[in-house]
Amino acid sequence: MNNQNKMAPLVFQASGKSMLSRLSLFGTVLILAFLWARPANAASLTLTFSSDASGILLGGSGTSSSAMAFGSVHAYGGVVPGGVTKSVNGTTSWTLSTPIDVRVTKTGLGFSANYTMTAQLQTSGLAYTWKLGAATLTNAFPATVTAAGAYGSKAPYTFSLTIPFSASAGAVSNTLDIIVVAN
């Protein structure tokens, strides 16, 4: 009994004796916090755009916001930028196309075998036909570009803009919103 009485203060001495002991408790709490938070923080998804080896040079290549400038292009004649293909579709329209690379990486999403990528225009582009891969894009809703994109590798998707001959000449611009979700 006597010994038990002596034992008890030891515990309290340990907790109240030094700052170091308080820090020890704090450290233990930190460990627990770390173990608890790590899985959630680790499960993440990252998206970057980059210039394709045979495509147009992107401004901001390798980041999550990129831009491409086709310059002044005509259906007949004019200069087409490197990496851009121009094709004339009979007497109805003409098309500019170029591949761009998209890379999606995952961390800690073990059960996600692939990803879904959709795309949507930020503003209306009804006079023209916008495509990314096989998906025709509008500003109304996201169109599915791929339902099973592979993680890790740069996947090339062909961006194309088709301009009807009936459209009047002028500047064409828009922003593509590329949306990626883990499957």
Binding site: N3, L10, A14, L20, L23, S24, F26, G27, T28, L30, I31, F34, A40, A42, A43, S44, L45, T46, L47, T48, F49, G60, G62, T63, S64, S65, S66, A67, M68, A69, F70, I100, R103, T105, K106, T107, L109, G110, F111, S112, A113, T116, T118, F141, P142, T144, Y151, G152, F159, S173, N174, T175, L176, D177, I178, I179, V180, V181, A182, N183
Partner: protein, 296 residues
């Protein structure tokens, strides 16, 4: 004797407490290192092996990209219950991003997922999503966390939504086209124990060309809840002896969804007759499909 025993206990207790104190100090140091590691960007993506780590060139700096975390949230709930989840987006690019938060239902049509605007389908879960805040501006090098609260309707028509950080960023471009990234977190909801998958006949690719054999099976989720089957393909000889086995990658199947589960046998098989067994397991349930094949 009793005293000795007590003293021994006391000494042990003192020694034990000393050990705890010392260990706690070590644990503190370890915790600080661990926290520093946790704050640092991950060195390798999931799926990369230790060998790849050794063989890889010096580590590149993290890409100036957007990252959403978590990418997938799996919720166990009941109809008419609410759940609140935190979703964060990190901006490691040199550009300021503006995001509007938006939820869409994930429906399955003809075995494939489609994103449906909130409220368009009866029993929409996405329609109940409330984001706080509903938009965020994320400067370069910063991150933002948003809370999304979802209330499961009485009869939800689907079991998944996506919570999307929709980029409203105006990318500077000289008369041309810009691309901006949006990222979404998939949220799945398990509301009952109605879990069921159905398989189909095994398919064999590459068996006749002498190249690596690929064994696959189309699997449909015929239950009411999301499942994540995973499994193994075993190759047996004509005498029933195990020739080899290879893992089948786990994939998420939403109700009604149909996906091809596939395993590639990593070496060429000798000529002969074989049997393949694909075994998929989820939530304690096993689905096994077998088929004979021949390597000419």
């Amino acid at each position: 004797m009793k005293t000795n025993k007590t003293n021994f206990t006391k000494l042990n207790a003192r020694a034990g407490l000393g050990w705890i104190r010392q260990s706690s100090c070590l644990l503190l140091v370890w915790a600080l290192i661990a926290l520093a590691t946790a704050a640092a960007p991950p060195l390798f993506a999931a799926g990369q092996t230790g060998a790849a780590q050794l063989d890889a060139p010096p580590e590149e700096a993290p890409a100036p990209s957007l990252t959403i975390s978590p990418g997938v949230i799996m919720v166990q709930a009941q109809p008419e219950q609410s759940t609140t989840q935190d979703i964060s987006i990190s901006n490691l690019t040199p550009v300021e991003f503006t995001f509007n938060l938006e939820a869409m239902d994930v429906a399955v049509r003809d075995g494939k997922r489609v994103f449906v605007p909130a409220g368009e389908m009866p029993g929409s879960i996405a329609r109940t999503a409330v984001f706080s805040p509903s938009s965020v501006v994320v400067p370069p090098g910063s991150s933002a966390t948003v809370q999304v609260t979802v209330t499961i309707p009485e009869n939800p028509a689907m079991r998944a939504i996506v919570a999307i950080f929709r980029s409203n960023t105006k990318v500077r471009s000289q008369s041309g086209f810009a691309m901006t990234a949006s990222l979404g977190a998939l949220m799945t909801f398990n509301l009952s124990k109605s879990l069921q998958i159905e398989g189909s006949a095994l398919q064999f690719d590459g068996a006749s060309q002498g190249s690596d054999l690929a064994v696959s099976e189309w699997v449909t989720n015929t239950g009411n809840e999301p499942v994540i089957p995973k499994g193994v393909v075993a190759i047996l000889s004509s005498t029933g002896k195990l020739v080899g086995k290879v893992a089948v990658e786990a994939m998420r199947l939403l109700p009604g969804e149909r996906l091809q589960f596939k395993a590639e046998y990593p070496s060429a098989l000798q000529s002969g007759k074989y049997r393949a067994l694909m075994t998929l397991e989820h939530d304690g349930t096993v689905l096994t499909t077998s088929s004979d094949f021949e390597i000419p």
